[in-house]
Amino acid sequence: MIAAGFNRAQWGYAVLVVVGLAAPFYVYPVFAMNVLCLALFASAFNLLLGYSGLLSFGHAAFLGAGGYVTLEVIRAWRLPIELAIIVGTVVAVLLGIIFGALAIRRSGIYFAMITLGFAQVVYFLVLQMPWTGGEDGLQGVSRGKLLGIVNLQGNLAMYYFVYAVFLAGFWIIHRTIHSPFGHVLRAIRENEPRAISLGYDVDRYKLLAFVISAGLSGLAGSMKALVVQSANLSDVHWHRSGAVVLMTLLGGMGTTLGPSVGALIVAALENYLASYGSWIAVITGGVFIACVLAFRRGIVGEIRALVKRSF
């Protein structure tokens, strides 16, 4: 009955959900969790770049803030894990409101430079504040129990928790994109003066998109920090902000699944190249150049174009 109502796209999603359920039995669960967190991060970023046309070069600030705050409130205030995640996300939302309200006063490349600058402020704060552990970061925080019942120290239990959060976040993004609000965002991306002349308060739409994106990035950061039970400077470094741009670009900006595909590839790349040290930067940079030159639509975008052409 339900199955009969599925269209082709929904079948595709159903298959992916099953793949996600089975994943921890076939790949190393911590790697799979890491991919899910990065996929949520990139999808949240894509809401901004792909659907609103705003390139933020400072999204690591939200990821890092979510992670650091979540771990710190668990360690210092002994908050239960679900509350800690909420606190981390709320802090990212607040940061998003401040940064967003200032950054949307300029557009295009200036927007990118401003967000990059604000993220540097967060980086230096994390480096210098007493509770963030400076160069060492925060380490060895226990995951604890979900709702006081489910012990998350086991990787399998943690995986399904992360997976549930990922699906919820992905669903929020999906709903946002396909809502009237999402259509207005696309209208602004395509032709801002026209959207203004139609009576839309463009700045409010942009700000809301920025805050949603920042909040979900913070959520992804909270989860990621809990997975590895640590947060360090690389989470707030501009390399991380660049990496999320790469994930989105590589997978396909403005596509629903693209950022997740990009996250999977970048995470795998970082995993396999971890022993090569700074060659990662060279290869990442090379992939960036290749993407911009050869396939700007990204992997999912190219596949979609191919399918459209052949049917």
Partner: protein, 288 residues
């Protein structure tokens, strides 16, 4: 007290000179090519490193390096423009930003692999060693040289762009490249040369910086973010604006280092936020 304050102000003035040189190059490139050259910091690093390598392996001294290194790095820039960057003209400027970001990662990664992250030191040339005692502070000769030369180069660029025929082509190309080409001016050639010039300016700043800062593969990435903030504050529309903003922010940074050192890394970005609040278009900017 006075000594420490004037010492920090001098450091600020020197940092400001580099901000001015770099933001000037960035503005010139952006004006004609519509590309935000994210690799500007990496090219500045390249300048310092090539000068260090030239001295280490070829025995080329500071004075020759000051001419030869910017030329060599500038030529590399032109090759990059011709082979790669050219293909993005007419697209959204965001792609140029992403492409040059990739280039910056590649350049930094290569040098990090070859030389590690520890700094190399480059000796101050004999002629500029020592300094003058002004009574309230000691003024090293090399630092004075950096400030004077940077201001002279900035002024030279301003003069070239605002007062010469070549500069008129450049300004015309910024306003309307299609019309300029219709008048028989070779716009693609001017674009390539402009990119090469901007890159050479970054490399020149790099050579000048080599004896002052440690030469490291990552020396460019910290600077470029401050320079971006300078560009947001000053606006890229005016050459004089980017020079004044660069020097001014260097001084503000120096003052902050004196009064409250931990804030000196972020003060530029705080100023950026304040300017965005008060004058969203930037101090010297015209359009949003």
């Amino acid at each position: 007290m006075i000594q420490a304050l004037s010492g920090q102000l001098l450091v600020g003035l020197i940092n400001g000179s580099f901000y001015a040189l770099l933001s000037l190059g960035l503005a010139i490139i952006f004006g004609l090519l519509d590309v935000v050259n994210f690799a500007h910091g990496a090219q500045y690093m390249l300048g310092a490193f090539v000068a260090w390598m030239a001295m280490q392996y070829l025995g080329i001294n500071y004075w020759s390096a000051l001419i030869l290194v910017p030329l060599a790095v500038g030529v590399l820039g032109i090759v990059f423009e011709q082979l790669v960057l050219r293909r993005l003209y007419g697209l959204d400027p965001l792609y140029g930003l992403l492409l040059t970001f990739g280039l910056a990662l590649v350049l930094e990664g290569i040098f990090q692999n070859a030389f590690g992250i520890s700094g190399k030191s480059y000796p101050v040339p004999d002629l500029l060693q020592g300094g003058t005692n002004l009574g309230f502070m000691f003024l090293p000769r090399y630092r004075m040289w950096v400030v004077v030369v940077s201001i002279a180069v900035c002024f030279g660029c301003w003069f070239m762009i605002e007062r010469t025929r070549l500069g008129a082509y450049l300004r015309a190309g910024t306003e309307n490249p299609v019309l300029l080409q219709a008048f028989g001016v070779n716009v693609p050639l001017i674009r390539a040369l402009t990119y090469g010039f901007g890159v050479a300016l970054a490399a020149f700043a790099g050579v000048m910086a080599a004896p002052i800062y440690q030469v490291t593969p990552l020396m460019g990435s910290g600077v470029i973010m401050v320079v971006f903030a300078v560009v947001v504050i000053g606006g890229m529309g005016s050459i004089a604006g980017s020079i004044i903003t660069g020097l001014g922010l260097g001084l503000i940074e120096g003052l902050t280092k004196f009064f409250y050192a931990p804030a000196s890394d972020v003060v530029v970005f705080v100023v950026m936020a304040l300017v965005l609040l008060a004058r969203p278009a930037g101090l010297f900017g015209r359009q949003l």
